[in-house]
Subunit: 252 residues, 2 copies
């Protein structure tokens, strides 16, 4: 009599690898990357033929990991673009291929946190639809917002303050609205519209700090007062505007 | 001829140790805790004579660390209370005492992230005022908000969505205002006013998930629909209300 083997357990893990400094990865993330059968990493246009930011981190914290690059477009200025959709469909197809080839754990490494402006949930939905029973797990990671707060020693929120995280892709009016509604505002993905972001911050009589490549050696931190009107910054820049605090610890 | 020794380098590090699961601590944080001369940990009323949450994490990720407990009050329902002020003054005095006793690196371990509703900036300002030249560093940590998003597999923000983090101590009107202004709202420190928070969420026709002790074995996740009207939860509970998403990956 033939025995039917138990269904293979397949796990798909979205792993946040933090903002750039490999040591800002969590112990849990490093272990998951080391134990995965394969680690999918986004390969963006920006990194050309070389490793992207996620891959550099994975290579550092899980040196033995088998890495597979997925062509990825970060150009989502108009929301979830066709290119981005294509990228997550390609990721999903790669994950399914790996599972069908015998992989038990497929990790998808994402810069920052998979729960914050990542496409991991789309990818996971597609994989689960194609291979029902796949277990999905998410391991959080340090975001650029947190790294910028730490490096500039600007508390994000204290006491009863409210924090808002706004993608500049949502529009300048949305940014202005939140500058009025929240005590601290963090603007993501605004590098290419930096002069307009700076204008909105000055209009609202705000202090702020710009962070580029935060936590990496190439890190650049610039206070709003020192920013030129036509300052340029890469797409993935972070602007943190905290209230002028009057409490004892407000100014470090 | 007598030579004057160079001034001692004193470093004060605010170390985020994450939400509870010790493996959610970053590699950088674990190293800083292991290398510190002494690690100050808050000892709250809740933990009685036993170790608090931060101490349990430190003991796990940096087993050889010298730990010093600081009596701490988490009861800041009325903002920055006298008790809390007393606690950070006690922390500052302990840090100064350690530096004067020869410590070169004093770490202060904080659950979550030192930049998010922590008193580390107050503590640091007091220490620097008393011992000028002390270098201050902040190492970010995974917040309860991120752990809840990961555990409940609810993306915090996708595409052009705006995220707001609101402490319920700021008032129910403030919470209602942000429920109108942001796509995703995370409410912190609302356990004791949970029925009112639930009421505001239902009024706004929102989905939500409540998280208690997220990432620990005692973790409890409850969907809004399953919450009793008079549901009780501890002070440090997290409520995450994300939009009903229509995109492919919205529902995992």
């Amino acid at each position: 009599m033939q025995t039917v083997p138990p269904p293979a357990i397949r796990r798909l893990i979205g792993v946040g690898v933090g903002p750039g400094d490999p040591t800002l990865t969590t112990i849990k993330a490093a272990r998951a990357l080391a134990e995965a059968t394969v680690v999918l990493v986004p390969a963006t246009e920006a990194s050309g033929d070389g490793p992207g930011r996620a891959e550099l981190i994975v290579a550092e914290v899980a040196p033995g990991a088998r890495i597979r690059r997925i062509p990825f477009s970060m150009a989502d200025r108009r929301g979830i673009s066709e290119k981005r959709k294509e990228a997550w469909l390609t990721s999903a197809a790669a994950a399914v291929e790996e599972f069908d080839g015998g992989a038990t754990v497929v990790a998808f490494a994402t810069v920052g946190d998979p729960s914050v402006y990542s496409t991991f949930s789309y990818l996971a939905a597609h994989v689960v639809a194609q291979r029902p029973g796949t277990e999905v797990e998410v391991i959080p990671g340090i975001t650029a917002m947190q790294a910028l707060a730490a490096e500039s020693r600007t508390p994000l929120v204290e006491g009863q303050e409210v924090l808002a995280l706004v993608p500049v892709t949502a529009g300048l009016d949305r940014l202005r609205e939140l500058l009025g509604a929240a005590d601290t505002v963090v603007a993501y993905k605004g590098g290419r519209r930096l002069p307009e972001v700076v204008g909105a911050l000055r209009e609202a009589d705000r202090d702020a700090v710009l962070g580029v490549n935060v936590s990496l050696e190439s890190q650049r931190l610039v206070a709003l007062a020192e920013l030129a009107d036509d300052e340029a910054a890469p797409y993935f820049s972070t602007v943190l505007s905290a209230p002028r605090r009057t409490t004892a610890g407000g100014a470090l």
